[in-house]
Symmetry: C2
Subunit: 141 residues, 2 copies
């Protein structure tokens, strides 16, 4: 293998792991009639109260897309819109009690589904894996 070429074994494993993980999230969400995006909205709002634009930025979506997503979630009683203090153009999005409870249940369920897989690794390997993934996740220099 020359320097110009790339051994894609690790990249392939990362991509396949990503798809497998997304499939789990998709399935868990579907059990609660939530799309992957709605699942992410709940996850983001779990520990934050953010404005529409911030939500769109987190998700990598357009503001206009957020309007529809938040509309539907609000209609289901999972979150609420409220005028932002200090800037009367802005809108804060907050989980409702029902939404917060659902978000907790979803997180627990995801952990329950994935835990048997991570448990295949020794505790030491689990720690190594976690720290290696953390290093991959660091924003690009």
């Amino acid at each position: 293998m020359t320097a110009e070429q790339t051994d894609d074994g690790l990249v392939d494993a990362l991509v396949q792991t990503a798809f497998a993980t997304m499939a789990v999230l998709n399935r868990v969400g579907a059990e609660h009639d939530l799309s992957l995006t709605q699942l992410r909205v709940l996850a983001i709002l779990r520990d934050r109260q953010v404005r529409m634009t911030a939500l769109a930025d987190f998700l990598g979506l357009e503001k206009s897309t957020m309007t529809g997503l938040v509309d539907r979630a609000e209609k289901r009683g999972l979150l609420t819109r409220s005028p932002s203090e200090g800037d009367r153009r802005a809108v804060d999005v907050t989980l409702s009690p029902a939404g917060a409870e659902l978000a907790e249940r979803l997180a627990a369920q995801v952990a329950r589904v994935l835990a048997p897989r991570t448990a295949r690794l020794s505790p030491a390997d689990q720690g190594r894996l976690q720290s290696m993934l953390a290093r991959l996740l660091t924003p690009a220099t």
Copy 2:
């Protein structure tokens, strides 16, 4: 931490890595006007020729969904439908030369984007990471 509880650090890292990886795939696909699903279709067909139902199974989608996906990809000249030998109900899907070329370029581009990240790890760690991910990917017992 009791035995009933779960340390979600590793699960969180897996999920975050999955989202980061999907974001890369999404971006690469978008540069070529391809959705994530269309990207996957090309990737699957890269080394296989499969029937509509098999494609739907790989992707976890309904057959009727495949019809539309293949319709649009076929209209763009990326793949072709052909009657399956042996079963006149079945339809084989095959990459066109243009589709095959695009699939290769996409794979190379994904590797190019992800490689700088994996390169943060020592070669030894890269090997460890790959084998640990492979263990996670093994189908459930």
